[in-house]
């Protein structure tokens, strides 16, 4: 039986492919004829938002992407950053939001699979993973099901693959009720002289298909990810891919073995839009044409059409250009790992992308234009309206101890143990700090003292109130979390999750968030080296909170001088570093207001980037000098929650003195930025502490002694002493209780 490739192209068919009439006209102008059905599919895959960044490109170009340690910035499978000793860390974060909402287990699992492939495609062995998850309101009917499925899916894939999950985020907000976010991060280690890229070189060389067979799963996935959801969402289930971590693990080992043979010229994983995107990218980057023969593609289903083969998003597949003289050696590696190996095409010198099938040419398109000539929009945007400041004296009162207990046992700050215990956090034997602290830390295997820190951050409620300040804050908080371990922040990856960019107010959020991110990255010397944009995160016209997730990597020269968040011992001085003299002032957009009073008003806190940099550099220096015994940055819930987290992590209490001339609610629950708590084992009256204060003063940093560790209670000034055990029970209780309450 033959399958027709000459389906008539109607306006409806064009629309079904997510192409606008003007975009279709552009195709007609470009090729001078009507496209075949397969060609239409190829265009829809290459020109959708997910692959082409057509709405965001103009703004992404403004981000700082260079630095002394940056080996490869955005544009490859992942960013590459020098960590010294001829080694590099290769990392990226990517979203899998739409598939995870439709089919949480497979959606989240294949999100992990995709990001891991991005890393090992470049020749790096994955050494750490994180995931930033955002779900709807806890009381929404779908939330438990989605949490349960997503966490199991990430665990099911990552645990079998064998990479430790070292950190991440979980947040709940009603604005994600119809559109959850699953942002997966992976990092791998490689030698700087053995990094592999996707740019093909050389004419007449074999294009080789490796890995799993091609099926019908995921056909049209990238196009689906570039559209809003409606009530017909269940019909989109077949566009979700199905993952097989067993194949991925074998693919990892086979690829690394193959790379060691010297056979690989170029390599690209088949992710979004599968064979189409990988082949076009390899050819276009190398200024080469590619000719594919689909009859050679390993398939697992009968009678697949060229359209389906070109758009399949079957997982665990790679495309490579190989040195022909090494083909036999390469084939042997893949046979050992029992994976498919097929020469499916050849590089050409005519810059055409040709696809042959059953003797016919089913596509013949200009390869550069498929990528480079993708539509690029300067979409209209409106400046976000920033909320008015809270009225003077608008400080809703609540007992400090009651408020702290409620926040520690609430969904925002409660322990995520229920989640991270489903992830293998210690495989590979290098995990120095597992989830639950400020950042995850691993040692660099083979090096006596070097460590790497990882953190993922964004505060969507700040971004909603003020995308510019929120963008700055996301970067600053990530930088701060790395700093709080003693690490030098090296570089970051951004995963920008927004609503429909065709709405000017959403586009305005994107533009301003990118502006804030760019300014913060510049000021903090923290370049963006990779990233991903996920737009159209809307259901029935309701957009998500703007969520530009930042994943950062830091370097510790000696992990013996590393700080953790738990109090280390009793009778130690607690310093509050970087805060204003009144400790806390800013209640707008705080979780105190939101979670205890149901208020979402006021402006987001301001991030003073110069102060942030000075304070962080000072904190890092103290940690590395060995005087710091514990360190924690302040974020959600301010000083009170920060102290409580340090106490709960260790079981050691603390007594903190109130300031008499500032409202306790502002002192303890204000969410002013750029603040750290640090304990030091220095004599409070001694010269060393006096010297520390002199240095801080010279830098314009306020670092007062606010209390002392010890005892079994956390005592916040005049408030009722709270037993650390009670705080811990509240902190540990929320998640398991919530997930166990299936009927609620």
């Amino acid at each position: 039986m033959t399958i027709p490739n000459d389906i008539r192209i109607t306006p409806e068919l064009v629309a079904d492919h997510g192409l606008k009439p003007d975009e279709y006209q552009k195709i007609l102008d470009l090729i001078g004829r009507e496209p075949t059905y397969t060609e239409l599919g190829i265009f829809s895959a290459m020109w959708n938002e997910h692959c082409s960044y057509k709405s965001s490109k103009k703004w992404l170009k403004t981000l700082p992407t260079k630095g002394p340690r940056v080996i490869q910035g955005p544009g490859e499978n992942a960013g590459v950053v020098d960590i010294g000793d001829d080694q590099a860390i290769v990392f990226k974060m990517e979203s899998h939001n739409h598939p995870s909402f439709i089919e949480p287990y497979q959606g989240a699992g294949t999100g992990m699979g995709g990001i891991l492939r991005d890393v090992f495609t470049m020749g790096a062995r994955p050494v750490a993973a994180m995931n930033a998850l955002r779900f709807g309101a806890p009381d929404h009917e779908k939330t438990r099901h989605l949490v349960s499925g997503v966490v199991a899916g990430i665990g099911g894939y990552g645990n079998a693959f064998g990479v430790p999950t070292v950190g991440g985020e979980v947040e709940f907000d009603e604005r994600y009720n119809g559109n959850i976010l699953v942002n997966a991060f992976a990092a791998g280690l490689a030698d700087t002289d053995k990094i592999f890229y996707s740019k093909a070189e050389g004419v007449g060389l074999p294009v080789v298909y490796l890995g799993a067979k091609t099926g019908r799963d995921g056909v049209g996935g990238a196009t689906m990810a570039s559209a809003e959801f409606g009530d017909d969402i269940e019909e989109k289930r077949p566009t979700v891919q199905v993952g097989d971590p067993f194949t991925e693990k074998r693919l990892l080992e086979a690829c690394l073995e193959l790379m060691a043979t010297g056979a690989v010229i170029a390599i690209q994983d088949m992710g979004a839009a599968g064979l189409t995107c990988s082949a076009v990218e390899m050819g276009a980057k190398g200024d080469l044409g590619i000719e594919l023969d689909l009859d050679k593609v390993p398939v697992r289903e009968e009678q697949m059409t060229p359209y389906e083969m070109m758009l399949s998003e079957s997982q665990e597949r790679m495309l490579m250009v190989l040195h022909p003289e090494k083909e036999a050696e390469a084939r042997a590696v893949f046979e050992k790992w029992e994976l498919d190996f097929a020469t499916v095409g050849v590089t050409t010198d005519d810059l055409r992308f040709r696809v042959k099938w059953q003797g016919d040419e089913v596509a013949n398109l200009p390869i550069k234009e498929l990528g480079d000539e993708a539509p690029e929009y300067d979409r209209p945007w409106t400046a976000p309206k920033v909320p008015a400041p809270l009225a003077a004296g608008d400080v809703p009162q609540m007992d400090v101890a009651d408020a702290l207990l409620a926040l520690m046992g609430g969904h925002q700050t409660a322990s995520r143990r229920w989640v991270y215990e489903q992830y293998d956090t210690l495989i590979q034997g290098n995990s120095l700090q597992r989830p639950g602290g400020d950042a995850g830390v691993i040692r660099v295997e083979g090096h006596a003292t070097k460590g790497l820190a990882f953190s993922s951050d964004v505060t969507p409620r700040y971004c909603e109130a003020d995308p510019y300040e929120g963008g700055k804050q996301a970067v600053a908080e990530c930088w701060r979390n790395l700093t709080a371990t003693g690490a030098e922040p090296l570089a970051a990856t951004d995963n920008l999750n927004f609503g429909n960019p065709e709405r000017p107010e959403i586009m305005g959020q994107l533009v301003h968030a990118i502006k804030g991110i760019g300014e913060a990255c510049l000021a903090l010397e923290f370049p963006i080296v990779s990233g991903n944009v996920s737009l159209y995160n809307e259901t029935n016209g309701q957009g998500i909170l703007p969520t530009p997730t930042i994943g950062g990597v830091g370097l510790l020269p000696d992990w013996n001088q590393m700080a953790r968040i738990g109090f280390a011992a009793a009778n130690e001085v607690i310093l509050l570093i970087g805060a204003p003299p009144s400790r806390g002032t800013h209640l707008g957009q705080s979780i105190y207001l939101r979670d205890l009073f149901g208020r979402k008003d006021g402006p987001a806190p301001h991030v003073d980037l110069a102060h942030e940099k000075r304070t962080g550099d000072f904190v890092r220096k103290l940690i590395r000098s060995g005087v710091a015994t514990a360190c924690h940055d302040l974020s959600d819930g301010g000083l009170a929650v920060g102290l409580a987290e340090m106490a709960v992590a260790s079981g050691i209490g603390a007594t903190v003195t109130d300031l008499t001339d500032q409202d306790p609610v502002l002192q303890y629950f204000g969410e002013d930025q750029g603040r750290y708590l640090m304990t030091v084992n220095l004599d409070p009256q001694g010269d060393d502490l006096a010297a520390l204060w002199r240095e801080a003063e010279a830098l314009g940093i306020f670092a007062p002694w606010i209390g002392t560790t010890g005892g079994i209670d956390l005592v916040l000034g005049a408030a009722r002493p709270l037993p650390v055990a009670e705080l811990k029970t509240a902190h540990e209780g929320w998640f398991p209780n919530y997930m166990a309450d299936e009927a609620a």
Partner: protein, 222 residues
């Protein structure tokens, strides 16, 4: 003492195990690929953890039927020591070298956390680095570690000193009967356990409670 590590596709704690054996004994183990014809002449054969063959069919079931396991069985019958950790334990059970079954965790979820283990029998080549009744820290990371056996088998295991380790202090993470974390064969030259002592052998791991298993087996590195 010479050791060998068997590697099946899908295992992923092979590198952790190789590192532990190398760090403790000072000598790297031989690596045996599942398609190799035979196991080299060694005193200890280790099957590490992971997801051999993707845990398809049943955890360990496919690896247990691999030809290399016939060689492992032969060596075990000749008294060579065999250690299976996590998926390695599942493979040894599926291969008939140890009794019982490892079912899905009672919680039905993967669990990765630290537990406490009690040394039930310290009078074996595997456990002589510990003392009887000693309780030590050890991490677990598995989805299917819920040990089950019929009551006659359990009675025999308990009576013959074949329970090696028990989850202690209420830390049973998976619902195992009798809190069983690890068991021996009749001759006590085959040990299977779910926890991962190889992930707690040095300061960077936050402790070295797992090290005594390897020092007892291999002797201290020079």
């Amino acid at each position: 003492m010479k050791s060998a590590v068997i590697v099946f596709p899908g295992l992923n704690r092979d590198r952790d195990m190789i590192a532990a054996l190398t760090k403790v004994s000072g000598t790297a183990p031989a690596i045996v690929w599942h398609q190799d014809a035979d196991v080299p002449d060694v005193d200890l054969i280790v099957i590490p953890g992971g997801f051999s063959y993707g845990d398809y069919l049943r955890c360990g079931a496919i690896a247990a039927r691999s030809p290399i396991m016939d060689k492992v069985r032969e060596r075990a019958a000749r008294g060579v020591k065999v250690l299976g950790v996590c998926n390695g334990f599942q493979i040894l059970i599926e291969a008939g070298l140890l009794p019982g079954a490892l079912m899905r965790n009672k919680s039905l979820k993967f669990v990765c956390r630290e537990v406490k283990l009690e040394v039930v029998n310290a009078d074996t080549a595997f456990t002589r680095g510990y003392t009887k009744g000693e309780v030590f820290r050890c991490p677990v990371a598995h989805h299917d570690g819920n040990y089950f056996a019929d009551s006659a088998t359990l009675e025999r295991l308990e009576g013959d000193g074949r329970v090696a380790f028990r989850y202690a202090e209420g830390t049973n993470p998976n619902g195992s009967l009798h809190d069983i974390a690890g068991i021996f064969n009749e001759q006590k030259n085959v040990l299977g356990l779910m926890p991962h002592p190889e992930n707690l052998i040095e300061a960077a791991h936050g402790g070295d409670d797992g090290r005594a298993l390897f020092t007892g087996l291999l002797g201290q590195a020079a």
